[in-house]
């Protein structure tokens, strides 16, 4: 069974790319996924994070002043 995941939604594509690059540099495994329509009509991309890594991910985004919203979501 897959572990629960969270979705980080950003206001622009540029922010998704910045967040993705920062996670890669920090060694935080994330995945770029489409924004589920049930969550938002914001940028077409968002990031999927395993729930246990959420705290580390959030701290990294805060340190870079990258704004986002976190949602519960598990792709089927």
């Amino acid at each position: 069974m897959r572990q629960p995941t969270k979705i980080a939604v950003f206001q622009t594509t540029r922010l998704v790319i910045k967040a993705d690059a920062a996670c890669k540099e920090a060694g935080i495994p994330i995945r770029i996924v489409p924004v589920p329509p049930a969550i938002s009509s914001d940028c077409g991309m968002c990031l999927e994070i395993a729930e246990p890594l959420l705290s580390e991910f959030t701290k990294l985004m805060e340190s870079l002043a990258i704004e986002m919203k976190i949602y519960d979501y598990n792709f089927l």
């Binding site: 594509t13 540029r14 790319i17 690059a21 009509s41 940028c43 077409g44 991309m45």
Partner: protein, 375 residues
């Protein structure tokens, strides 16, 4: 021998990586900007954002998202001049403006009654700083400054102009079409309000790339509307940058090429001293008059020449027919600059160098003009 001296129209050659990385994108990668989530799109989007970051570094911009891509400097200038929210009744321009500025302003004059005032200048088109200090212009007035003239290569004393503008509350819009890549631009340090630029001239990127920077995006309304891949349930353009001013799919292939140009800028094959020596040698030829900057430190990598008997078209054609030298003659889409220099209406022959020109290329140019000017 590099006989291409029309780099102010578009630069050639480009760094090899421009073509190779564009070809790689077009044949091996593909992918759009930010509209989906698979890896092909991520890679394409990453390259666009890396280009934006590199441009920010070149322009001294601290917030790269304030840079928007357009297809060239003209589109950028139109987006800025037609999108201004502040109520300008008079817009002051440098005496060397290109029609990329003058035609949108003329449109604003005809449709909104905006008055266009030309700033006082010296004989080479340099803005007269003493007169500028005495100028009575109100807080918030807009000054459009052509950084490096596409006719005689004069570089405006921008740091001094910007210092004065900050102290008087004037806004500065910089046309950096010819300067970016060749001479330093410091948007933050000089506190510039707006910059328009192109990718295919001094930056050595491909045609179809360019953009603009806006310090206070709330002062600008979009002039282009459409899909951004964000806030798609709304008919309003997003407030967030860079999406607010970037409707439609950007020129990803071109931007990949521009990124390659920014990352692989060549070391110049000639020095400024070589260029100034070249100008001096040409200026001493009988029948030839050089149109350049009065002060050598204000001379950019282009200048113009006229002949006492030959028209600019005749001289330009002779240079090509006899020596393969490629130049542009005429008004260079800058009638105001030519009026300032006294070369309206016939214009001039423009010689525009590239970092790839060697001292030997410049020697060849001198010999070619020497021969072509013999009448």
């Amino acid at each position: 021998m590099n006989t291409y001296f029309d780099n102010a129209s578009t630069s050639y050659p480009k760094p090899r990586e421009v073509a190779s990385q564009m070809a790689h994108y077009l044949t091996e990668e593909g992918g759009t900007y930010g509209r989906a989530a698979y890896d092909r799109v991520r890679k394409a989007t990453l390259q666009v954002e890396q280009c934006r970051d590199s441009l920010a570094a070149v322009m001294g911009v601290k917030e790269p998202e304030k840079i928007s891509f357009t297809s060239n400097a003209t589109t950028g200038l139109n987006a800025l001049l037609l999108g201004l929210l502040s109520k300008q009744t008079v817009i002051r321009v440098s005496p060397m403006e290109h029609n990329a500025v003058m035609r949108p302003l003329w449109h604003l004059h005809q449709t909104k009654g905006i008055r266009i005032e030309t700033l006082p200048s010296l004989a080479d088109g340099t803005i007269d700083l003493e007169a500028l200090y005495k100028l009575s212009a109100g807080d918030g007035e807009l000054f459009v400054i052509n950084h490096l003239s596409n006719v005689n290569g004069v570089i405006q004393p921008l740091p001094e102009i910007c210092r004065l503008a900050v102290s008087r509350g004037w806004q500065i819009m910089l046309d950096a079409a010819q300067s970016l890549g060749e001479i330093p631009v410091d948007a933050s340090g000089w506190d510039i309000d707006y910059i328009a630029f192109t990718g295919h001239k001094g930056l050595l990127g491909p045609t179809g790339t360019g953009g603009f920077y806006c310090k206070e995006p709330s002062q600008l309304q979009p002039t282009l509307f459409g899909g951004t891949g964000s806030l798609s349930d709304s008919y309003e353009m997003p407030a967030e940058l860079p999406d607010r001013f970037q409707a439609g799919t950007p020129n990803v292939a071109g931007i990949v090429g521009l990124r390659a140009a920014l990352q692989n800028r060549p070391v110049a094959c000639h020095s400024k001293s070589n260029m100034l020596d070249c100008i001096k040698a040409i200026s001493q030829l009988p029948g030839i008059r050089v149109h350049g900057a009065i002060h050598p430190e204000q001379q950019g990598e282009l200048f113009s020449v006229t002949h006492e008997k030959l028209s600019p078209a005749d001289l330009s054609q002779r240079l090509f027919d006899r020596h393969g030298i490629e130049t542009r003659s005429g008004l260079h889409c800058a009638p105001l600059a030519h009026r300032t220099l006294g070369t309206f209406q016939a214009g001039t022959v423009r010689i525009a160098l590239s970092p790839y020109h060697t001292p030997a290329d410049l020697d060849y140019l001198i010999k070619a003009i020497t021969d072509a000017a013999t009448y």
